[in-house]
Structure formats: C-alpha cells, structure tokens
Amino acid sequence: MRKNWKMCAIGTVVASSLALAGCSSNSGASGGMGTEPSASSGGAVKASGFPIVDQPIKLKMFTRTAPVNGPFKDMPVFQDYEKLSNVQVEFTEAPTDGFQEKKNLLFASNELPDALYRSGLSQLETTRYGAAGQLIPHEDLIDQYAPNLKQLMEQYPEIRSGITTPEGHIYAIPGIVTLAAARTDKKWINQAWLDKLNLKVPETTDDLYNVLVAFRDQDPNGNGKKDELPMTARAPVAGQGLPILAMMSGSFGLDMQFGYNINLENDKVNIWMGSDRNKEMLMYLNKLYTEKLLDPEMFSQKEADYLAKQGSGNTGFFFDQTNNNFLPIQDQYVGIAPPKGPHGDRLQSHGAPVARDFGAFAITSVNKYPDVTMRWIDYFYSDEGATLLRFGREGENYEVKDGIPYYTQAFLDTGNQSKITPYAGGGAPHLISEKVASFINPPQVQEAQKQLDPYMPKVRYAAPMFDEATAQKVNVLRNDLDKYYEEQSTKFIAGALGFDKWDEFQATLKKLKIDELQQIYQDAYDKQAK
C-alpha cells in the first residue's frame, strides 16, 4: 500500500508540474507569436484571387449574434464564401446579452479563438490586449493582404488615424461606413398625427413641446382613449451614455466630438457635462418627462420593446437609423431636422465617423494563418463581398436592378431578412456603401438624412487612440465619471433629483477629476491637429 501511495504522490506532482509548465510555455509563446510571419504554416496564401488557399484550412472565430439573427453557419454568405475561399470558419456564437462578459473572459483566461468577428472591441480593449500581445499588429498584414481595405484607408485618411495607436500599431479593423445615412439616427415624427391635428412639423424645441402635448391630449389615433405615446428613445446601456441625450443635445449647442460629451470651440476641448447648456437640456427633458410626454419606460425598456413601439404606429416621436422597424406603417412617419433650441442652436450632434464600428474584427496571437485571415476578411470590404454579406444569394435572396442589389419581394415576404445576414443587429466588419444600401437607405431614409445634412458638424472627430498608460488613466477616470453622470442625469430627467442640487452635481464632477480628463482629450486633440 505504501508503495502505491508514493507512486500516487509522485504521479500527482509530475502531472501538476507538467500542467504548470504547459501554462507558462503557452503564455510565453503567445507573447512572441504576433511578430513572426507565419511562413511555416501549411496553407500557402495566394497573393490574389480565389481560393485564398489551395488546401482547405480551418479557423475558429468568436462572434456576437443579435436576437434577430439566425445561426451563422446557416447564413448563405458564410456557406458560399467557404466554397469560394477554401477557408472553413467555425463560429462560436455569443448572444448580445452577455457578449461583453464572454469576450473579456476569453482574454482574461487567454483561451483565444483565431479571430474575433463583430467583436465591438473598445479603444481601451484593443490597446490593452494589443500591448499584452494577445492581439497581433495588423498594419503590415493590411498592407500586404488587404487591398480593398487599404484602398478605403487611403481614400478616407481619418480611418487610419482613428484606429492606429500612438505607437503606430493597428490591433483591430473597423466596420467602414461610407454611406452618410448609416452614420446617424434619424428623428422620426408621426406625420399622420400631425396632419390629423393640423400641426406643422416642429421647428424649435418649444414647437416640439407643443406638438407632443397635442399628441398626448388630442387623441390623434382617434380611439377615444388617451393611450398615445408622444415620445420615446432607446434605453441606455450601462457605460455608453443615455441615448436620449445624444439625440437632443444638438438643439442645446452640445456636440458629441471624440465619441464623448465634448464641444470643440477654437481648438479648445470642452467636456460639457457640467455646463449650463446641459442643465437647460436636462430641465427641458425633465419637463417632458413630468408631463408624461416622454416614455416613462424609457430608462428600463428592452430593445425589443422599443422596436415594438416603433412598429405599433402609436408613437409620436422617436429616433432610429432606418425605417426598417416600422416598414408596414412607414407612410405614417417622416424624418425631421433637429429642432432649434432656446439659443438658436441647431446641430445634429449624434453621428458616427466613417470607421463606424470600431474593433469589429481582430486577429489574435494564436492564429496560425494571420495572412489568410486578413485576406479572408478583406473580401467584405469590396462591394462584391459586402453584397454577399448583406444580401446573400442572387436569385434566391436578391436581384440586381441598375447595378444595385435589392432583396426580392418573395424573400422579404418570408420574414427571414435579418436571419440570413450578420449585418442585422450592427457591428459586422464590412463596407457599407451606397452600392449595398438599397434596403437600409430607401428614399424615405434618404429624405430623412437630407433633413439632417445641413446641421452636421463640419468635422466629426472619432474617439482618439491613447497609448496604453493614458488609456488606462482615461478608463479609471471615465469609469467613475460616466457612471455618475448617467445616474444623475437619469435622476434629473425623471425628477428624482431636483435642479437645486445642480451646484452639488457640478462640484462632484470636479471631484471626479473632469478637468484632468478634459486635459487628456485636449492633448490628444493637439496631437491630432499637428
């Protein structure tokens, strides 16, 4: 028996030390992998044309699925592209709810897939994981293997500056949107109700208030009940700001530069969260809220609830990029310009840069075929690839009229449109241009965009790329600040906090070092301006 015991003990020790060795060698390798070219890999990549490799290879990718999507393996784009490219992609799907959590755990446990698809990595995440060696530098790969993407980056230089770290690395590829209408949320108002009540399209914030009051009181849907919902907006996602503020801030002279609550005046960065203008905006929204003009469920509703309200036809005023969620009743609605605020401001503050979906695709250090992977993704930055991604198969899903693909009516009638394409639900790494936008940019949406166009800011700065140390500092500051701002502004709007507490609110922002954050953004701007 004793002998057995000893054997057992030795066995355990050996096994555990092996396991430990395995761990450490693993992490060591992943640090260095990135810089080595993958010449040793079996699949020799072809410089151009299809298939990308002669011998089929397999890649594992981690992706997000939106509630509207079907399984990725059933999507025609991935089935057909696999045949075309000889690259077989195995997707690990995580639903939108809980995606952030799963993604971070992948990195924290260092159990990486070959690439992250539709990953929505933040600036901080890319710099952090890039510096850690978990994401490899993409810039050389783009130069060599991504002609489409490279061309886009030359055409729109702001893409490159928006995704390159101060050290000169690119750790993730964005989704690129050259179609302006896909970078803004339109302001949809119920034209049918306006007509019925003999009202004009609201031009100012006061007009808007009066119109909403009329929607509430004068029974525009004609059922004799006061059940109309005058105005609603998307519910906030923790840490990403209140959508209603981004939608309304332009009327109060508050811009959204650098993807944050920032005004840019004479080369001076001004974070406006504690400004008097913001107080005016919050007071205005508070008025709407207390008079039951603003949806009381706005702060807690689910995305599905919000979309259902769009489609119900019983909503007066709301915000969305397209008309796709209320197609059956689209004639009721019309897109309007931002209303003019009390100080004459009229600005479309909400809008995304050309590289709209930052961090949409990234190659990790465990990937044995980074070159193949780069060529694989690059296809989707061509009109041809984007068409395949967004429209599926010609004949079965779409037809071409005047060189532009349209879904066939027969296919739309099946109701499966959003199931067959990974773009539905947002954030897919590909090119959205005029060519592939017949569905999301029909005449009604184009009209709505035209209403916004005159009020767009001259330059729209994307969120700046900081070096790792600064990014960490920004993260620490913004964790506290954003949480505080979101909570307090929700309370101001809902009336849970009186405006007599405004001074206290301003003082707390100061205490949370809003000035230090402003200085960091100022430095980033100065660097960019040079």
């Binding site: 004793r2 992490s27 959590e101 971070n104 755990l105 924290a108 260092n110 009381p296 309370k491 849970a496």
Partner: protein
C-alpha cells in the same frame, strides 16, 4: 445535519487523546475510508484552494498576455483606489445595510414559520402550508424579478391598481431608490422562508415529547410551551445557522440585485458584488476588482470569527 455538526465538537476532545502518533498507521488500517475522503479533499484543493493562487492579481496589474506570475507588482494601489473611490462609502453602506436589514427581518421569519407548522394540529394543513411556502424557492431569480416587475408595474400591476382604487397615485416601485430595499428583502423572505424553515422543523421534531407533556402537566399554555420548550430546543441550530449566514454576510444576492438595478434606484441598490461585476468583468479591470473582492472576503472572515467567538462564549455553541 446541522445538529450533527453542533454535537461534533463535544465528541472531539475524547478522540484527540487517543490520536497520539499512529496517524499514518491508522490511515493504513482504514485506507478505504480515507480514499473516500480523497474526493472531497481534491474538490476543495482544486476549486477552493487552487484559485487562491490567482488572488495575487489584486496586488498586480494583471495583464492576461503576461500571465498571473508575469504581471507587474503594484502593491496596494488597487486597494487605495477603491478606498478613495467616490463610490466606496455608498457601496459599503448599501452592502452592509441590506445585509443587516435582511438579518434582522428575514432571519427570524423561517423560525416563526417552523414554530407555526410545528404547532398546527391538522397534518394536512401543515403539509399544505409547507408546500405553499416551499415552492417559490425553486423559481429562478430571473422569473422572480419578472414577477416583481409585473406585479409592481405602474400602469398594469395589481399593486398599483389597488393603490389607484384606494385613491392614491401609482408608485414606480422598481425605479425608486426608496423602495428598493423593501422590495428586495420582502421578496427574499417570500422566496426563501419555506426552504429555510425545513431545518428548524427538523430540529423541532427532535425535541423530546416528554418535555411537552411535562410542561402541559404543569399547566403551561401553548405560548409558554413554545417559549420554554420549543425555542430552547432549537437554539443550537439557530446559532449555527446565524453563524453560517454571517459567513456570507457581504455576498448579497448578486444576480437578483443586478436584475433589479437601474439608474434610478442605483443610489440604494449599488452593492460591492454588482460593482465588481460591472467594472471587473464588463470593463476588464481584473486587478482592481480582485482587490475589492479580497476586501469583501476579509470583512466576511472577520465577522465570521467574531460571531463564532461570541457564540461560543454566550450560547456555548459554535462552528469549531
């Protein structure tokens, strides 16, 4: 099961004298029993002591690429950041107050329920009562929170319908900081009292019936019997359960709070565990939140030790 634990320390000193040197020999003799012990031991080692190794990231700037050992050492920086954080006071206060209130209000309820069940003459009614109070325990937290928001909905919920019918204004219960703790704790009681009363009911059935008979002979009323026979009979169990409860004093129902949380009730619903989740997992600040978690556990441990000591001195019952 708990009563067995309670009696164990009493038996221990006798065994200890015989222990002496021959531990290994005795293991050899009864190897089959010790082999059975291996499994739980391994479970503890792998899942409870193994992860302790990762605790060091609380003192480092954890960088997943460099691994736990390779990350740079920063000492107490993360603790300092937490103590100086704007949210520190609020998090600590909410965590403590929710627990303290739970302990004061929710802890006695299962005991009362057990006493009632024990006193019921009709067996079928007491079974029925037990089942009814038991069932909510098996519902998932998501369902419970769903039920809460349906019942408390300001436009369609029955509670607000009743308030309106009585002439009041509907209250937005789920979006009000003032109501959060009330709703949280009372729904916890509703959900768990049946389940938690099982142990007390079991302990009550172990009380010697002769004591009741004797009390009856002496003319003790029903309440007197509960006070002087039933309660003292289950005090050791109560104390043990109290100590165990204190042991996870700081881990409030994380999922439930997270599900009930929104910007409007954050003032009272923001607790350490949800803060760890939202900043740690969602924003990838592993080291910072590991430090917060460690701080949390230290408070737990201290409380456990204090209460255990106190219980040993006063009630002569303790975990060890």
């Amino acid at each position: 099961m708990e009563s067995v634990q309670a009696k164990a320390p009493a038996a221990a000193p006798v065994g200890r004298k015989r222990q002496g040197g021959g531990l290994l020999r005795r293991i050899g003799k009864r190897y089959d029993l010790y082999l059975m012990l291996l499994l739980p031991l391994a479970w503890y080692l792998i899942f409870h002591y193994g992860p302790l190794y990762g605790l060091q990231i609380a003192f480092k700037n954890f960088n997943p690429g460099k691994g736990i050992m390779g990350s740079e050492w920063v000492g107490l920086e993360h603790f300092q950041r937490f103590f100086e954080s704007f949210y520190f006071k609020r998090l600590l206060w909410n965590t403590l107050s929710i627990n303290l209130l739970s302990l004061l209000i929710a802890f006695p309820v299962p005991i009362l329920l057990a006493l009632i069940v024990n006193e019921l003459r009709s067996k079928s009614f007491s079974k029925w009562l037990q089942n009814i109070t038991f069932i909510p325990h098996f519902m998932s937290v998501v369902v419970i929170v769903g039920i809460l928001s349906v019942f408390l909905s300001p436009s369609t919920g029955p509670v607000n319908k009743l308030i309106e019918w009585l002439g009041g204004e509907p209250i937005r219960f789920m979006e009000s900081a003032g109501w959060f703790k009330t709703i949280f704790i009372s729904s916890n009681i509703w959900q768990n009292m049946g389940w938690q009363s099982i142990i007390y009911i079991a302990a009550l059935s172990g009380v010697n019936p002769q004591l009741y008979e004797a009390a009856k002979m002496d003319g003790a009323s029903r309440l007197r019997r509960i006070w002087h026979v039933s309660l003292p009979g289950i005090v050791p169990v109560i104390v043990i359960l109290l100590i165990l409860d204190i042991g996870h004093f700081m881990d409030v129902g994380f999922e439930k709070i997270l599900l009930m949380q929104n910007n409007l009730n954050l003032e009272t619903s923001d607790v350490i565990s949800t803060f760890v989740y939202t900043t740690g997992i969602l924003k990838g600040e592993y080291s910072y939140t590991a430090a917060i978690g460690l701080f949390n556990s230290l408070i737990n441990l201290t409380l456990l030790l204090l209460v255990n000591r106190f219980a040993r001195k006063t009630a002569e019952t303790s975990l060890w």
